[in-house]
């Protein structure tokens, strides 16, 4: 009986299933099959044995990370930075998108949109170089300016405390154009009849934004939040590495899992050890997303990811 139901479902959804086939195949080939490589985290890799034939070595590959005494610090840093990025970036992007949508001048809107997108194109290497140029102690633009108005220079590259703020600002700056375009698209998809109704009710523009635009953006916000939360334990290596580099004085507040593992493995290049670190990040991310998705499901079944 149950099987029959399954087969009749199969028939009923055959068109939809067919439409899904390319994507399913794609992810099988490029994600699921290679995923078998997770076993490397538990192996002492050698070329003769390859992925499956290399000898097992239990949790040996995890030791460098777990026993370093830094695991907790860098894990916490990674999560805190990502939470800050999610909140700050999305808030700023939403405000920007709403303003872009509401502000009248067509020409102004177009130019602003383009300009806000510029940072997206600047590679982290170049961002790092510019930051060094602005912030360095001896000849950095910022310190030259401070000295010229009689204030003492700030030693940014030797002071860990400034860096969370710098990194949050830089991250928001770089993602602004990209993210606000997404929200702009979401705003344009809102049914105008709602606006018209609100206008007839005599709501002013701020009330309209708060009562209609923002609630209608919530599904997008929730989806983006859920997508981001699964990767909360993965640091943006390009950003942290190019901004902070190997400056040990800043590590207490800037070291994330990815930079830490990179530094540990530059000399050994051990495939199993990097697989182990990746697996650790995956497990934590998986647990977090299951929790978050569960919470969202409780609140609204349709908004959940799965």
């Amino acid at each position: 009986m149950k099987n029959q139901g399954f087969f009749s479902d199969l028939k009923k959804y055959r068109a939809l299933l067919l439409m899904l086939t390319p994507a399913v195949l794609f992810f099988l080939l490029f994600a699921y099959v290679p995923m078998a490589g997770i076993v490397l985290a538990f192996k002492q890799f050698n070329y003769q044995g390859g992925i499956f034939g290399s000898p097992w070595n239990g949790l040996e590959n995890f030791r460098f990370f777990m026993e370093s005494g830094d695991a907790w610090r860098v894990t916490r840093n990674t999560a805190l930075y990502n939470i800050a990025f999610i909140i700050v970036n999305n808030l700023l992007q939403i405000v920007t998108a709403i303003l872009l949508f509401e502000v009248a001048g067509k020409w102004f809107r177009k130019v602003t949109q383009t300009v806000l997108f510029l940072p997206y194109f600047i590679s982290w290497v170049v961002v790092g170089a510019i930051a060094y140029n602005l912030f360095n102690y001896d000849v950095g633009t910022l310190n030259v300016m401070l000295r010229s108005i009689g204030l003492g220079p700030i030693d940014i590259y030797n002071t860990a405390a400034y860096w969370p703020l710098i990194l949050i600002v830089v991250s928001a700056w770089k993602a602004l154009g990209y993210g606000s375009i997404m929200y702009l698209a979401a705003i344009t998809s809102i049914d105008t009849e709602m606006y018209e109704a609100a206008e007839i009710d005599g709501a002013n523009i701020f009330q309209r934004i708060l009562k209609i635009t923002v609630p209608n953006l919530m599904p997008t916000v929730i989806i983006l939040f859920l997508l981001a939360i699964g990767n909360i334990f993965r640091g943006d290596f390009g950003m942290f590495y190019n901004m902070v580099g190997n400056n040990g004085l800043l590590f207490s507040s800037t070291d994330v899992i990815d930079t830490y593992v990179f530094r540990s493995l530059t000399t050994s290049n051990e495939i199993g050890m990097s697989a182990a670190a990746g697996f650790y990040q995956s497990i934590l991310g998986f647990a977090t997303i299951l929790l978050a998705n569960y919470a969202v499901r409780k609140y609204d079944k349709d908004r959940a990811l799965f």
């Binding site: 509401e102 997206y120 170049v126 510019i130 140029n133 523009i205 997008t220």
Partner: protein
């Protein structure tokens, strides 16, 4: 929801602002806040870019001495002349990037939206299962080695144009964002078409695609940018010089110098080299971004158009 007549202007805030009865003070306040804030943000975004442009035209020794400046302290085209030392290679690289971007965006956008549509169908029993199936891949990955083996040894895609396109065709992030956009399309529209006997694929093609233009424009832009900026796949899989995309071509120019400096130190080898690295970095940014910036107003026109036509229902 009944099919309303096309009204291309209804989403254009300009027109809507005009329609608003009287110039109320709240609109004025919003305009002040909007213009001010957006201008400040825009300045933050444009300032570094001006630095980059200026530095790319500055003599290297002058950058070393004065740092990056808004106006070139000592004008020089040296960085560009290094970049365009082999103009044929550079043109080829542009060609590869442009074709990869065009093909990849077209195919990728189609597959992404088709997948997203199925997942957005509330009557599709297994949509959550499949969503999970896709999403799961963003959490767990087998790492570089097995993925590389898959592409090189099993699919034999090394040194082909395909390898620059196929592995990036679909991205879970885009699928899910697209799905969330499509979920907001009222079910009533597809219901009526279904009753008329249209197949699922036809509904997707004829109804959903035109209704999702804002989302298509956005995701299409994202896919295109991803292809345009990609150098990693080329790094791993391309060794033939006529298949090198622009970003990888540039990346190598710079990376080779840095890498060689380190190697020289450790191997004890000594090579004479002298390259304007700072200005070159900047010139590379311009060369890689320039075409996109020139094309952007046109993309934007399509984008804005997409938004207005998005209002057309039925």
């Amino acid at each position: 929801m009944s099919a309303t007549t096309a009204n291309p202007g209804r989403f254009d805030p300009e027109i809507r602002a005009g329609k608003g009865k009287g110039k109320s003070s709240d609109r004025l306040l919003l305009a002040i806040i909007g213009y001010t804030l957006l201008t400040i943000l825009a300045l933050f975004c444009i300032f570094p870019f001006i630095l980059i442009i200026s530095s790319s035209f500055t003599e290297e020794s002058s950058i070393i001495e004065h740092g990056f400046t808004i106006i070139p302290t000592q004008f020089s085209l040296e960085a560009y002349s290094i970049l365009f030392k082999y103009p044929a290679d550079m043109l080829k690289a542009y060609g590869v990037t442009i074709s990869v971007t065009l093909i990849g965006t077209a195919v990728g956008l189609f597959l992404t939206s088709m997948t997203a549509y199925v997942l957005s169908r509330k009557d599709f029993k297994w949509r959550n299962h499949f969503s999970f199936f896709f999403f799961f891949t963003t959490l767990f990955s087998g790492g570089l080695v097995p993925w590389y083996l898959m592409i090189v040894n099993y699919l034999q895609l090394k040194d082909t144009l395909v390898v620059l396109i196929v592995p990036m065709l679909m991205n879970v992030f885009y699928i899910i964002v697209m799905k969330s956009f499509m979920s907001s399309i009222p079910e009533a529209i597809t219901e009526s078409a279904k009753i008329d006997g249209a197949s699922d694929f036809l509904i997707f093609l004829k109804l959903i695609i035109p209704l999702s233009k804002p989302a298509l424009a956005t995701i299409g832009l994202f896919i295109a940018l991803a292809y345009w900026n990609d150098w990693y796949h080329a790094l791993l899989f391309i060794s033939k010089s006529d298949l090198m995309p622009l970003q990888y071509y540039l990346y190598r120019l710079l990376g080779n110098m840095d890498g060689m400096r380190k190697a020289m130190m450790e191997s004890g080898a000594a090579i004479n080299l002298e390259i304007p690295t700072e200005s070159l970095k900047m010139a590379m940014t311009i060369v890689a971004t320039g075409p996109i910036l020139i094309a952007y107003p046109f993309i934007q026109r399509f984008f804005v158009q997409g938004l207005t036509i998005g209002a057309v229902k039925g």
